[in-house]
Amino acid sequence: MDFIIISLIKTAIVAFVLLTGLAYLQWIERKVLAHIQIRVGPYRVGPHGLLQPLADVIKLITKEGFVPSHVHKLFYFMAPWLAVTLALIPIAVLPFGPLIEVFGHKTFMELTDLRIGVLFVLAVSSVGVYGVALAGWASNNKYSLLGGLRSSAQMISYELPLALAIAAPLLLVNTLSFREIVNAQDGYWLGFIPRWNAIPECVGFIVFLVASFAETNRVPFDLPEAENELVAGFHVEYGSMKFASFFMAEYANMITVACVGTLLFLGGWTPLFPAPYSNAVPVLLLAATGLVLLIAGSAPARKMDKYTFPVVGVISLGLALIFAVSFLVPVVQTILMALFWFTAKVLAILFVFIWIRGTLPRFRYDQLMRFAWTILFPIAMLNLLVTALAVALTSK
């Protein structure tokens, strides 16, 4: 009974955070892209456009769900459902923190710990291509069909380097469970360099990042939805919630990939510095942010800064206070520290995703394929072989 109640609570929290995160990731992306291009981005709905995701959701839900007459009805409706379901499933096996004890109940900070967690994520993401391929085909439109075909070919091709890049750190940690992978990365070399897989596996990490851009159909590999060639690619015939489902699936895939990268290569929730120092990092960081904002708000350069800067500053100081108080309650501190470091790393990877989108132009299709098979795949293979050799030589 305990198990069911705890699982329900955890599921509710994870689902709420994930879905809110999806909506706000889109806000973050628009803001970051806007600032890269010297614009302001969403600004009208709420302060600094903070309510824009909400407005978008309301708009997409209340829009008329128009169905074109020339589509294959069953597959047309099945495709967005498949895409979003398969994109949301992997979060169930990703851990966010260590074993915690709340009110006498011991529980892991994750929904389930699978012994084959890594394989599970790979399996679900490899089936995820059906959503895009079906959408392209069922729309019965040449642009969407081309988008769907491009996407299938691209995802099949980039799955190989991705799987090989994931296999290399697995050789180092010798397990397939995400929890044990993170535990194996706990600790420090020479007392201060974190034992993250990204350091011995830097080549693998780069290959993983590049391949995951392609797997999530992101710039510079967003050929399936290249606007200037294919109108909008595979989802050209979709509107309202059906279009939103594809959108959600794309962002959910981004979050999944960032989480997997964090867990496999960046040590999950293990802090960057040894524990006594790292626990003070969020307090100092948030307090400094708050103070800077309060000082900047007292001499505002723009009219609205008089209100927005002090508000955000007070929120930062409040968060700093929460982290500071948590020093008195070890349980809360464990939870908060794990969440802080995990979120920081995931957001860092997501920022790289957005940064790349703001920087690089789109590849041409033949370049994309040649890059996968003649550059990325051999590098990933070589990296795996070298890692295997090193592991074989160093183990007794």
Partner: protein, 166 residues
């Protein structure tokens, strides 16, 4: 609880298999086959063969069937017309023949292995990735390598055949 899940999944697998044969559209048939493979993967998982279940999803459902769907889309194959009418008598007799064939198979298995016992879910724990890997690289190394070479030959053959006109 486990027999309950077994019947749901087995029912789903059989439903998908029937749909695979009876659908007229190739894409629908291919997707039904994916459904069969997914149901089988979960059944493997229940039997304790977790690595096999993941491999089934990644290799069959995620790679091979995606290629099938890909090719069907490229050829843009439409729904097929019923080629020629099968007589009603043949269908009727066919069902009984099918039942007879299944009966003979189960009778033979029962006769050959009289004390096999029944399947127990979750009792077997030898299906982890480590154990499968150990078996593949020790006991079954030779068959494993021979299979790899066979697949390599098939790949080379496919490339040679595809490039013939150049």
């Amino acid at each position: 609880m486990t027999p309950f899940f077994f019947f749901i999944l087995a029912g789903f697998a059989v439903f998908c298999a029937i749909s695979l044969v009876s659908q007229t559209h190739p894409i629908a048939s291919a997707l039904s086959l994916v459904g069969v493979m997914g149901a089988l993967a979960v059944l493997y998982l229940q039997l304790g063969a977790e690595f096999l279940a993941a491999a089934q999803m990644i290799v069959y459902a995620g790679a091979i069937m995606v290629l099938f769907v890909f090719v069907i889309m490229l050829l843009n194959a439409g729904a097929e017309q019923e080629a020629r009418r099968v007589s009603r008598l043949a269908r009727f007799v066919g069902m009984f023949m099918m039942a007879a064939l299944l009966g003979i198979i189960s009778f033979t298995i029962q006769g050959q292995f009289p004390n096999m016992g029944s399947v127990t879910f979750g009792a077997w724990v030898g299906g982890t990735a480590q154990e499968v890997g150990m078996l593949l690289f020790t006991t079954y190394l030779l068959p494993f390598e021979i299979t790899s070479i066979l697949i390599l030959i098939a790949i080379v053959g496919a490339i040679v055949l595809a490039r013939r006109e150049v």
